[in-house]
């Protein structure tokens, strides 16, 4: 049943279908659905025919103008005064909204692409009908077609709506944002903007944004390594401690730690930012103990803030690793450990040769995922420090800002730099893709080993 399908040549070529087919078949190359209707596949034929009609009406009323504007993204780029000859007065013209033009142009292109796909599907169906007629075989009726949707073509029925959702709410916005990286949609061109090719990328790598980009990128990578490594190492140690010999109420201990991770992050992290505040409980307690006179600038000093962020992340992240490690330890082959003990291995040797390799084996994919997740770890930075403390050398970024939080800030101001933000998003994509690729190869290597 799940055997790979052998690649078979199509029952007829498109050329043969066109040359040998009857008038309906030929007509189907121009008007979709004719051959289906002639062969009494009413539903299919109507769907093809109607989609072509609707598409053409839309295309001539809207599509052409939407696409023709795409090249210039609107003629008027800023507020201009033009002399209206008919009325004999000067009028102020608002700039064309390039954002809307871009959106509708993009949607038009996507619709055209979808119609082309549909056209190909209809051609294939026409060819199939031609071949069935030629060989004198039975032509499935609408009823049989619908029945096949519940069996051989079930995936089409099931995946249609989810795929439509993915296209509308993930693919389209992603493409939309990618295209913005190639415009000058920034603080100087907030409404009417134009295509500028790779200028935004150049600005990030060598231009005015480079002084912010490289330090932020550096800290993003340092953060991702530190956050992943600390939660992993200490999580493993905590897991070993809980699972060590003689400890009772393991479930209770596990749950107590997991509570921290289970609390919604916007609660726990916002509260943590209060906790470390200059007037927060930590500082006031230390002051009351007379250990310090001045509050420690946990979140205000750039270096200390970085440390605070990593430490707080350990508080949230260690329980997750612990949870996984305890699950792995419980599933370890006990006879292997017993055998090692009989041969005189001590606890450290058992850990080093049996327990830890197993933990590493199971956790490697998760670790790499965590690493990529940490590169994009918006919540911890945004809720804890908001990227701060402010860094006057950076363009709209603070000392603890990651690439993602900087991206967010660039888009959330009154005069946003969307092109820079979009280009940053593409850089983040490249970084994630590179590490995912490494991860993919690594897990495959493990599989073979």
């Amino acid at each position: 049943m799940f055997k790979k399908k052998a690649h078979t040549a199509p029952e007829a070529t498109f050329k043969e279908t066109w040359q040998e087919g009857d008038w309906a078949t030929k007509l189907s190359f121009i008007i979709m659905g004719i051959s289906q209707l002639k062969n009494k596949q009413w539903l299919k034929g109507l769907v093809f025919l109607l989609s072509e009609v609707i598409f053409l009406v839309w295309f001539f009323y809207n599509g052409i103008s939407a696409i023709s504007l795409l090249g210039s993204l609107g003629k008027i780029k800023k507020l201009t005064r033009v002399f209206d000859k008919n009325q004999g007065i000067w009028v102020t013209k608002q700039p064309d909204s390039s954002m809307v033009i871009l959106l509708f142009g993009l949607i038009s292109i996507i619709l055209i692409a979808l119609l082309l796909v549909l056209y190909y599907v209809s051609l294939k169906s026409t060819r199939h009908l031609y071949a069935l007629n030629r060989d004198g075989k039975h032509i499935p009726t609408t009823k049989e077609d619908l029945a096949s949707l519940l069996d051989t073509r079930l995936h089409q029925l099931l995946m249609f709506l989810p795929l439509a959702g993915i296209f509308a709410f993930t693919v389209t916005p992603t493409i939309y944002m990618i295209t913005m990286a190639f415009t000058n949609f920034n603080q100087y061109h907030p409404i009417g903007f134009s295509w500028t090719g790779f200028q935004a990328f150049g600005e990030i790598l060598t231009g005015s944004m480079a002084g912010t980009f490289f330090p932020v990128l550096g800290w993003t990578l340092v953060w991702a390594v530190a956050a992943t490594a600390t939660t992993f190492v200490f999580g493993v140690l905590l897991g070993l401690l809980i699972e060590s010999k003689g400890i009772k109420f393991r479930g209770v201990f596990r749950t107590l730690f997991v509570i921290v991770f289970a609390v919604p992050q916007f609660v726990s992290l916002l509260m943590m930012s209060m906790f470390w505040d200059n007037a927060g409980p930590v500082n006031s307690w230390l002051q009351r103990m007379h250990w310090i006179t001045e509050p420690i600038q946990f979140l205000q000093n750039a270096n200390l803030a970085k440390l605070t962020v990593i430490v707080t992340n350990m508080w949230i992240g260690i329980p997750v690793t612990m949870l996984i490690v305890t699950a792995i330890i419980q599933n370890l082959p006990q006879d292997q450990i017993e055998a090692a003990r009989m041969d005189g291995a001590n606890a450290f040797q058992v850990f080093n040769k049996i327990t830890f390799p197993q933990i590493l084996f199971v956790m490697t994919p998760a670790l790499i995922q965590q690493f990529i997740g940490n590169i994009n770890n918006f919540n911890v930075i945004f809720l804890l420090t908001g990227g701060g403390p402010l860094n006057s050398k950076f363009y709209q970024a603070g000392s603890t800002d990651l690439l993602v939080t900087w991206l967010y800030k660039l888009t959330m101001q009154s005069v946003p730099n969307y092109n820079i933000a979009a280009a940053l998003g593409i850089f983040i994509f490249i970084i994630s893709a590179v590490f995912s690729l490494l991860a993919y190869r690594r897990t495959n290597a493990f599989k073979e080993g």
Partner: protein
């Protein structure tokens, strides 16, 4: 032998001590949150751990505040969460079954496509989505719900991983008996999939309660009433930073109300969470 036993006992008590110390460090901030929600406070942060004066007024305040209509937020979020739980569970189940059990030409390309799509930072599409919703006049709770539902088709990894482990001989046997794919899906796969369906619906239900980013982008221009809990509370905190003294404890009380059910749900679900993470190792 005697000294060995003593050494063992010493080691055990040291480990217990360490564990208890760690638990205290971990639980302390959480306990502080809960204590704060019960304390009388007029001066901003609460810096004492045990409240000087116990009160329930913070909880009363959060429910009776016209400026921050917590009750409507909870109701909004509940409606969205129920819709998400139903629709997203359906979507995830259907996608996982198709991608795990059915074989069609575009299966592999789609899996690769989904992988690549997932590498783009979510923020990119978020901001574009805001403009798309604005173009059709849906920067409101309905638009937010659409966004939550629309992206759900990509969240199939955990359930697909689970279905991949269900033996395929079950399907084959049913097919020999003349069952269609649809009948196999309904009568064989769905019953086996029940734990994953419960997990998916609960996580889908939990997500709107904790997400504050999407609502903060999409609902920012809507009225105070039309917000979700997480965004409303976050907004309350960041808007009133200067005045936080007045609302701080009420904010904390609101957080506690939301956090308790979410935390309990997560603790119940933790074993599914673990299997979701470790599943990657077997699958590669």
């Amino acid at each position: 032998m005697h000294s060995y036993k003593r050494q063992q006992r010493l080691s055990l008590s040291l480990r217990y001590l360490l564990l208890i110390a760690l638990v205290i460090v971990w639980i302390f901030p959480i306990a502080w949150i809960i204590m704060t929600s019960f304390s009388v406070n007029l001066s901003g942060f609460v810096s004492t751990f045990i409240p000087k004066q116990w009160t329930l007024s913070n909880y009363a305040k959060i429910f009776n505040n016209k400026l921050y209509p917590f009750g409507s937020w909870v109701l909004n979020t509940f409606v969205i969460a129920v819709i998400c739980a139903v629709v997203n569970t359906f979507t995830t189940t259907v996608m996982s079954y198709s991608l795990s059990r059915l074989r069609f030409k575009l299966r592999k390309p789609f899996l690769q496509f989904a992988l690549v799509l997932g590498m783009f930072p979510g923020f990119m599409s978020m901001i574009a989505l805001y403009y798309m919703l604005k173009a059709i006049g849906m920067t409101n709770l309905a638009g937010l719900t659409l966004v939550y539902i629309g992206g759900a088709g990509l969240g199939f990894y955990i359930m697909k991983g689970f279905l991949d482990t269900v033996p395929k001989s079950l399907d084959e046997a049913a097919e020999l008996d003349g069952a269609t794919k649809w009948q196999i899906f309904i009568h064989i796969i769905l019953p086996m999939d029940r734990p994953m369906i419960i997990y998916t619906s609960l996580t889908a239900f939990m997500a709107p309660w904790t997400d504050f980013i999407f609502p903060s982008i999409i609902l920012s221009t809507d009225s105070a009433k039309n917000k979700t809990v997480a965004y409303g509370l976050y907004n309350m905190m960041s808007n009133t930073k200067g005045l936080s003294s007045q609302y701080f404890t009420a904010f904390v009380a609101g957080c506690v109300i939301i956090a308790i059910p979410i935390t309990i749900l997560f603790i119940i679900l933790q074993r599914y969470y673990v299997s979701g993470i470790t599943a990657g190792a077997d699958k590669g």
